[in-house]
């Protein structure tokens, strides 16, 4: 076993810890692992290029940018904020917990492309969350605004990750099934997806509790100090 390629992992950790530019860190780490494994430079460039071209899918968010940009230019974020501010029963925790529940339920039905950081969080959920947070803490400062937006993004992640595995045709479930089949164990996708349900419930409860605690913290910070 050649343990030297692990140096690439060390390069990633050191680079991120030193807060160097992630693009540079990642490319450098690739070369560290490549040289440690004894690959010639020409092979490494080909490997890097091929892997890069083969994984173009994450960059498809650029297709949503013309729509999001046009709508932002036309005041979408301002309108979302004004609308939420006018709903008297809407609070930060109600908004985010409902969004998480919706994301989990739709994910469990296989509808994961509803929502996402570029499609829904930036143009809709984050400005709405800020407007809702202002109802609890009218003098929301810059740091608190950042934390509200970060929480909105985190809620999207949690809702997505721990809902989709209940759907039997999702990549993760099929990957598990394929792995076991290759090792001589035959399982139905349904029997795997079933065991994702306890975690989905636990994720919902834990994150919902954290959202409520966050809002309580906002409320405390808004009260005049005695």
């Amino acid at each position: 076993m050649n343990y030297w390629p692990l140096l690439g992992v060390a390069a990633v950790v050191a680079g991120f810890a030193a807060r160097l530019n992630p693009m540079l860190v990642v490319v450098a780490a690739g070369f560290v692992s490549g040289f440690a494994a004894g690959l010639p430079l020409a092979d490494q460039l080909a490997l890097l290029g091929k892997s890069f071209v083969a994984t173009r899918a994450p960059l498809l968010i650029v297709l949503t940018l013309p729509v999001v940009g046009l709508l932002e230019h036309a005041g979408l974020r301002e309108h979302a904020q004004r609308w939420i501010a006018g709903l008297y029963y809407m609070s930060l925790s109600l908004l985010l917990i409902c969004y998480m529940a919706l994301r989990q339920i739709l994910g469990a039905l296989g509808l994961t492309s509803i929502g996402g950081h570029a499609q829904t969080v930036r143009p809709l959920i984050a400005p709405m969350a800020e407007a809702a947070a202002r109802k609890t803490a009218p003098g929301l400062d810059e740091l608190q605004r950042e934390r509200v937006r970060a929480l909105a993004a985190a809620t999207d992640n949690v809702g997505l990750f721990f809902g989709e595995d209940i759907f039997i045709a999702v990549g993760a479930v099929l990957l598990i099934q394929t792995f076991y089949t290759a090792n001589g164990i035959h399982l139905e996708p349904l029997s795997i997806a079933l065991w994702a349900i306890p975690t989905a419930i636990a994720a919902f409860l834990i994150h919902a509790l954290r959202i409520v605690v966050f809002q309580y913290g906002l409320k405390r910070s808004a009260e005049p100090r005695a």
Binding site: P22, V53, P58, P66, V121, L124, A203
Partner: protein
């Protein structure tokens, strides 16, 4: 038929427009950066085809382009556009005028995509089908975006060029962060090809007491998290950790239920995804999209959820797998 290659060309068009707009504004580094990605996107299928045919020059050039992009990003020459587009008064007035109509195109992207995806098996006429069989998601997303942009143009009474100017503005705001997920996936490929995965699994296998069910369960769960944090992706960690610990120790030696081990192992890996900057499209890109000053702001916000849930998962695995 809307083939996958048309979708890549459409994305290359959006990226290429950003390059032209940056070129006109004399932001040379930004123009070069977007032009490089636009070319890689547009030529992607040809590059992969040439590689399959044994001609490695195009893939090597793509690799060199990636290195150049990383150098551009690391040099600080890329200018990040200022957040927002200035004119708050005009936006507020437009928001008042258009009201809830503004929500419609935003919601159209997911809804139209989903409807098209679900309807894909019926959108056929003889041998002709609207979307390629078994691969409808990406073309459906592309068509959904096109329909939504047409609708957005009509309600805001803008010209198509305005849409490309807006996407260019957003791309310059996002900067290199938008390319990072692709690059990390490429690093995952390099790590796999150089044997990093096997080395990690071998190390963890040496460290634990294999005759204890609890030690094996914890080692498997923690291994899934650590490996996911390193690779940025639970999918990459699952075969390595399950092949190294889950299958030989938990399932074969201790008789754990494979369905439970598989489902909860993968979900424990997802907790690692919430913790790592390597999962850039979930953790770093949104920090840039939401204009957070702390690039790790999203990770900080979800870290406690991830840790509590990971502990819950490992506990669940221990009690459910050995019923």
């Amino acid at each position: 038929m809307i083939a996958l290659s048309y979708v890549w060309w459409l994305a290359a068009l959006v990226l290429g427009a950003a390059a032209v707009i940056d070129l006109r504004a004399r932001r040379w580094a930004n123009a070069l950066f977007w032009a490089l990605i636009a070319i890689v996107f547009a030529a992607g299928d040809a590059i992969l085809a040439a590689d399959k045919a044994g001609n490695r020059l195009p893939t090597q050039l793509a690799g060199a382009a990636v290195v150049l992009m990383a150098l551009l990003a690391g040099s600080g020459l890329l200018k990040r556009a200022p957040a927002g587009d200035g004119d708050v008064a005009a936006r507020t007035a437009s928001a008042q005028r258009l009201g809830h109509q503004l929500f419609v195109p935003a919601l159209m992207i997911p809804l139209v995509t989903t409807v098209l995806f679900l309807a894909a098996p019926y959108l056929v006429a003889g041998d002709w089908r609207l979307f390629p069989a078994g691969n409808a998601t990406v073309p459906a997303l592309a068509l959904g975006c096109c329909i939504a942009v047409a609708f957005a143009l009509s309600i805001t009474r803008s010209r198509p060029a305005q849409a490309l100017r807006e996407s260019s503005r957003l791309l310059d705001q996002l900067g290199w962060a938008v390319v990072l997920p692709m690059l990390l996936a490429a690093l995952g490929g390099v790590f796999e090809a150089t044997g990093v995965g096997n080395a990690v699994a071998a190390l963890i296998g040496q460290l634990i007491a294999t005759d204890s069910r609890l030690a094996c369960t914890i080692a498997y769960g923690v291994g899934m998290i650590v490996f996911t944090v390193i690779m940025g992706n639970g999918f990459a960690a699952f075969p390595v950790m399950t092949g190294g610990i889950g299958l030989p120790l938990l399932i074969r030696q201790h008789g754990a239920d494979p369905a439970v081990v598989g489902a909860l192992g993968m979900l424990t890996g997802y907790c690692g995804t919430l913790l790592t900057p390597m999962a850039a499209n979930f953790n770093i890109v949104p920090a840039v999209l939401l204009e957070l000053r702390d690039p790790y702001g999203v990770i900080r916000s979800q870290a406690l959820t991830a840790l509590l849930l990971a502990a819950t998962n490992i506990t669940l695995m221990y009690f459910l797998a050995f019923r």
